[in-house]
Subunit: 310 residues, 2 copies
Amino acid sequence: VAGVRAGQPRAVARLISLVEDGGALPQPVRAALSAHPPTAHVVGLTGPPGVGKSTSVAALVGEYRRRGLRVGVLAVDPSSPLSSGALLGDRVRMTEHETDPEVFIRSLAARGHLGGLARSVPHALRVLDLAGCAVVLIETVGVGQSETEVTGLADSTVVLIAPGAGDAIQAAKAGLAELGDVYVVNKADQDGAARAAAELRTVLAAAVGRPDGWRPPVLSTTAVRGEGLAEVVDALDAHHAWLREHGGLAGRRRRRIAVEIEALVLTALRERVGEAALDELAGAVLDGVLDPETAARRLLASPGRVASEH
Amino acid sequence: VAGVRAGQPRAVARLISLVEDGGALPQPVRAALSAHPPTAHVVGLTGPPGVGKSTSVAALVGEYRRRGLRVGVLAVDPSSPLSSGALLGDRVRMTEHETDPEVFIRSLAARGHLGGLARSVPHALRVLDLAGCAVVLIETVGVGQSETEVTGLADSTVVLIAPGAGDAIQAAKAGLAELGDVYVVNKADQDGAARAAAELRTVLAAAVGRPDGWRPPVLSTTAVRGEGLAEVVDALDAHHAWLREHGGLAGRRRRRIAVEIEALVLTALRERVGEAALDELAGAVLDGVLDPETAARRLLASPGRVASEH
């Protein structure tokens, strides 16, 4: 914990590994992590494959570094441990930042459990916060995988859109019109980028007003050449300030923690009852011997009884 | 339940609404649903936006109908209730099947809870099974949203790939190379489709062998003209038979039920403790008064105590 506070990369890496493992954390570690007030701005990035997500993350890191800020990057992989290929691709593009002691890059896997990311990401965020990161970028590796779960963890969400014809419409149809706090048409040097931005503005204007009242801006970047990133960071800063002013920041964080607590309940249950007992219950439901609600009640009751006997 | 058994569309719709609501089901309903052995082949479809997912689902339904099978379709929307626009788009394309009494189409929303879909989808599958559907297609509406969660619910997963240059590589990088049981390059009439299929075969051949030994085929369709769908259905039938022979079917279903039971545990906890209590615990964690593990233990202990007092 002292090493993390001092911003030592190895200590940060070790502590994140510890929290990712999912086992019970030593009490002093838990206390240090939870006593530290969260200050880092948590920014999620999402968008269809091929839009230049990894390049955009690297370019954003560059812009935050130019402003002198310490940055954390969580590359979240909701699929199996098999997709190391995808992560490798990201790592190559992050090379320029890998030797920067003010940038902490880390990948996290979901490990196939319900709530796996909801449990591991908040703790990793606490570690990066403790390490003095002013901003943490969360990038989801992979298409269509638990992005709602992940973007739900961020204070601000950047939605990246490709410049192709109809891409903005596709994105809107795919539900991205409600997800973003800042929209970015990347590859602004390609044909159709201006039109995609215009389409997107039309779609967003036509959408039902957001309940929180924030009006998401539509920006353009050419991330591979580092163009337009200053405007994106300015917009993110504006959204962060807006959340603080309107009290939305605490609300988003409470929701994030509520989901984390639920995920931790499942972890605790799995540990107490054991995977085998859960598999046995599932088998009984599959055989039609038990209905799933009764199975859930039994699962819930068994550790409760153990707890009250203590 | 009798109406569902008789395949009455209204009864099916009402029972799915009942299970989606998440409240406690009447005991006779629970018993009828869980006593019915699952027989329907559950097929998930996934792929990047713009690949023609909805059109492919409609074309697949057509092919299954030509074979005389009763078909269920679950359009799963993991985002908020706001994305009715996307659902409307799908509905338009499903029009040709909407008046067919042998096709049951239903959309489900995640409602923002951890495990929301893991809870509602399996029950909806049981209802469609009870209604005599031989096949149920699960389509995810939206990009990058809980697709892993959803594909984890299927017996067989179809991954759709666009024919553009590099699309297969992008898809592989995005982790789709491990997700699919059957790969389909849609829009096979467009330039680059043959090359995308060849690229995809190379990527799949280079990938580490799947632990279950199945070798996913790569097929081509032009869904908008109904071309190539017979081959897709044949491949899905082959995968289904293969799962049965190699015992993989029961394994996949047990895992699906295990996740469902965990989701039901959270539903039960939320009902017993109340959303307000969870929000209060989250607030205490945010304020640094409580660490999240302790909050989870308190949440878990409180209904346990209530249960043991009964």
